[in-house]
């Protein structure tokens, strides 16, 4: 399972879900699902998000073992 810090970083960068969605080229619903953890992004989307937050991918997305 992939966990992420998108919600936290979005708040830090003062972006709305819609703004982030526009910047990374997806719909707002995708950002909502991503933050809820119910959607695993493609590598391209993960790279776009990392680029937007100017951070390495692994600092935003991390693998969590299933319990």
């Amino acid at each position: 399972m992939l966990t992420n810090r998108v919600r936290e970083l979005r708040a830090r960068f003062d972006l709305t879900q819609g703004e982030l969605a526009d910047r990374v080229g997806v719909t707002r619903q995708t950002i909502v699902s991503l933050e809820k953890g119910s959607y695993t992004p493609s590598l391209l989307l993960a790279m776009n998000i990392a680029e937007e937050f100017e951070m390495p991918i692994e600092e935003i997305f991390s693998k969590e073992e299933k319990k």
Binding site: G25, V26, T27, Q29, T30, S33, S38, Y39, L44, L45
Partner: protein, 160 residues
Amino acid sequence: MKIYIMIFLRIMLFISLAIMVFDYLRVEQLFIQMERGYIDEFSVGIIKWPGYVFISVVGLLIAAEIIRFFQVRKNKNSILSAYLTAEYDVSDERAVANTHKAVSLAFVVILTYSFFMIGSYLFIPNYFIDHIWYPMFTTASIPIVGLLTYLITYKALANN
């Protein structure tokens, strides 16, 4: 909303086509029965509304298909390569993934449902004499069941 309209139009297309074919076969069957001497005369009334519905739905579907294609092309986030019909949501990668999952489930349901529909002919052995509507409407029900499965699955995934 778009997906509801598209699914509704597709279902209307199949229903109106099934009714039109049934109506034609019903008259054809009466002619054959008369030719073979089973009946001396008959009177028929042709139902016009399925034809009007069919033509209107075809027109609306073509228009919707063209409009949707240009909308998809205009939207910079859309994945144009995944676009096939107006029911497909290709607005971004998650929408495409959800569409694929919904189509996969609809395919499985169509396979299973078709199996039972073919089997159901066992219980209506005289369908070609007394129940000529049966093959038309069972055939039409196959894509309708598939479309409804697609719609329900897609909506469930999209709201997740």
